[in-house]
Symmetry: C2
């Protein structure tokens, strides 16, 4: 196993300097500290676990979400994670990370620098620089709603999307809907792409055809509501399945603005059961992810990876929550839309 | 919550008789006992958990495998399950169950009759009567290598088949193989079907075509070795991926009997890393399932289900173990097969 001596030899500096750099001493420059850390990662150096004062620290890395907003997505997931991690003797830091910060320091280096033994990662998109590094990373990581192939140190947890949309399509079909459309976010996100594919498969599983011009996706929700929604309505959809509740809420609002009733004229289904979804107008029918339980599972999976149990994928059952945004399929043509004031 | 009184009322018998039936007293007939149990299951009766002497019993239900053979599949899975369950205070019974026994008593009734709080189920095929019942069963169950949709009381654990065959195809491709065949068991098994589909997807993922006449599957291994293997060889495959190590070993033996060298003339890959696979002739290249760890995960998932955490799917990373049954793709045509003595 590589030691401090090996790092010292490679860099031609003293063992004492390496030790100071690793322990964050003030009299070592940032440049040298970074060089020491990167070398340590390169040769597979690990901090001595036998040391009495060794840190038991984990981090929750977040991007694209606000971890301090109890009404937002992510808050309860982090809570669920902490509820198991802290009683098990771990300190947990919640660390927002930008793409720029990821480019400045590799994942393994970051983890070693802060003495984190493992990470629970929320909100990364496929273009995040660390997504590539995680394919070969050595420090255990569990990603929520993101899948990294092969690496036995990295796992994926989430809700079973296919089950979720199978329930949604079955529900709509039982209400007489056959012309079902889909509005989603950009396919550069693993989970958004997975949900889009799950929607297509669910339609197939239920013997329904996805009609031409009845699907739209865009990074911008406004493009979905303003460009794709009118297209779907024109093409006769009676129900729209959305990639998440933000989208569903925006689509419902736009339908109301256009003078259509939800669910009388058009049914809408979301995904997530976000904290606001029960209070939306109308309250959203949606596929629930139990966020606290997801957080629990995140800790279980990370703990397993840290103990060399190579969990690849852990999926929770999806549950359909039926509220007021879905109803029987309309049997009439939609009137012309109301003109929205500029 | 339904009580003993409710069961007594429905059947028009005394509370004392119901209690005796539930507690296996000698002076209650088997017919009445069965009737009481079935009624109890029907109305959702649960044994009183507050009782001090309440049993903490789980069962491992096995079919199509011998749980007492340390060299066989399943033994280490059960060991891994027990290693977590017993220290956690559970008694664990290992119970072989036939199709006939399943038809005689429903799953929930069986579990209530024996006071089992949860089951870990190994070796069921899609045609087992309880597979249908598990779709709506109330007693928690975790199935190894079998997937039941929707039911939040039932979960699936296994190895990530797609990852396994992706590794196998990548390995063969790196050795120059492009004409890769497949031999598998009957598609009436969930896992055998899943592996067959994973093979097709893996070939696609690696830009390889599955040629006509290069795939065979049958319930009978002998049909694969005697009918399909000659067909695959005639159609020029240089490597064969098998659905499990039993198949791989049988195929390797038949190749040797026909006068072909493994891997010089033909490469063979298995799945499972069964206890015998390292000692086969030649030792098998195979996709490993870590059975002890699978057993650990089985207990974790069952414990989660019993605590109302609805795990749907828990998959471990697959690992490719490269041994002597794979080598560089041959660049010559195969000679005629040796005549096998009748």
């Amino acid at each position: 196993m590589p030691t401090i001596n090996d790092i010292a030899d490679i860099l031609g500096i003293s063992k004492g300097t390496v030790s100071k750099a690793l322990n964050n001493a003030d009299d070592v420059s940032e440049t040298l500290r970074k060089k020491v850390l990167e070398t340590a990662v390169e040769i597979g150096y690990e901090r001595n676990r036998a040391r009495k004062d060794v840190s038991r620290k984990l981090c929750v890395i977040v991007e694209n979400l606000n971890p301090d907003n109890p009404a937002g997505l992510g808050y309860d997931i982090i809570m669920g994670f902490k509820k198991l991690a802290i009683p098990a003797g771990w300190e947990v830091d919640v660390v927002p990370i930008t793409g720029q910060e990821q480019r400045a320091m590799s994942y393994d280096t970051f983890m070693l620098a802060h003495e984190y033994k493992g990470a629970f990662i929320l909100g990364f998109s496929l273009t995040d620089p660390w997504m590539k590094e995680l394919k070969t990373a050595r420090t255990p990581a569990v990603l929520y709603d993101n899948y990294i192939p092969e690496n036995p140190r990295v796992g994926y947890i989430g809700v079973h999307n296919q089950e979720g949309y199978d329930l949604a399509v079955a529900h709509l079909k039982s209400l007489g809907h056959t012309r079902i459309g889909y509005l989603g976010g950009a396919l550069e996100s693993y989970i958004i792409r997975a949900r889009y594919e799950a929607f297509l498969q669910a339609m197939k599983n239920h013997g329904l055809e996805v009609k031409k011009g009845c699907v739209g996706y865009s990074y911008f929700i406004s493009e979905c509501t303003q460009r794709f929604l009118p297209m779907l309505l024109k093409n006769g959809v009676t129900a729209i399945i959305c990639c998440h509740d933000f989208m569903a809420q925006a689509v419902a609002t736009q339908c109301l603005d256009l003078g259509y009733q939800v669910p009388k004229d058009i049914s809408i289904v979301g995904f997530d059961d976000a904290p606001f979804s029960a209070y939306a107008v109308p309250p959203l029918t949606t596929v629930r992810q139990d966020q606290q339980v997801l957080g629990n599972c995140g800790f279980y999976a990370l703990n397993s990876l840290m103990n060399r149990t190579a969990i690849s994928t852990l999926l929770l059952r999806a549950e359909l929550i039926v509220r007021d945004s879905t109803g029987p399929a309309r049997t009439w043509d939609l009137p012309r839309p109301r003109k929205i004031p500029a």
